[in-house]
Amino acid sequence: MSIGTCIHDAAVVNASRTGEWDDALRAHAARCVECAETARVAAWMQDVSFELTRDRALPDPMYLWLKAEIGRRAREGGGSAMRRSGIAAGLGLAAAGAGLVSGLAAFPYIAAAVGVARNELSAVLAEASIVDLSVIGSGWLGITVMLFATYLLVIRPLR
């Protein structure tokens, strides 16, 4: 079986599609078995194309253009939201990293200060009466409850 080896194959296809045959090409197609076959098949496919394309209403290109435009804008909006979230996450990570580094750097001082505070507190607690401790404890509990109530009643509704 030949596989399109005739050098005039493309010219014959083109002539069959456009209907513009020159005499030399027409004479060649009459002699060459392969080109005759190509011309016959191409002409028939053109008939099929004519039948399939006539009287067919197509959607308005404006509709497609606008649909694509809406999709493009939605994607762009989504993209900028993603970028904003990325920046916020990056800043958060950087802040956490900086906090961790500074915490590690200050650890000896913090440990020393905690030690001193613990000793001071132990001394104070050893000397304090149970009544004083109850008052201090109730005070801290009150402050905690007040902060929680502020969150529930003020900050949360505003978010």
Partner: protein
Amino acid sequence: MNRQAFHDFYRETASGVRAYLRLSCKSASLADDLVQETYLRMLRQPLPALGAEQLRAYLYKTAHSVLVDHYRAARRETQWKAEHDTPTAIDGAELDHALERADDCVDSLELPFDMRQVLASLNAKQRTLLWLAYVEGFKHHEIAEVVGVKTGSVKVLLSRARAELAAKLDERRGAQSVGRRVTR
């Protein structure tokens, strides 16, 4: 591509693309949907700088990929049904058939009966290759690009399809001339 360029390009190419897709679809409305998807997909992505002919080849490549995606989705749906809808499960042969759904679309084409008969003797791939070569006038390497096979394979497959179609046309012509002689 700006709006006016798109409108011009669409008016020039849409009916051909629709016919190309229609050859491999079971219904006209499905072909219309796939045409829309083809152009939308083209508009969604930034187009490379192409000449008019290359842009047309790119359009057909997109159409082919939309068609393949459609049949892949249909195949997945069939597989899903096979796995989940036990009472109406399909057998293996039917599943294989789903892969070649494009082959049996000819019956529904808006074509005269004799044309449909001839087209039905070709498979979907052969119809695609013949359309791209002889209606759209694409060269072998462009067809290879559109359907995603090697240029050498396109030459062989196209030559085989052309020979089959020519034989079918000759057979039909022979039958018609015999019929005419009998009726005289």
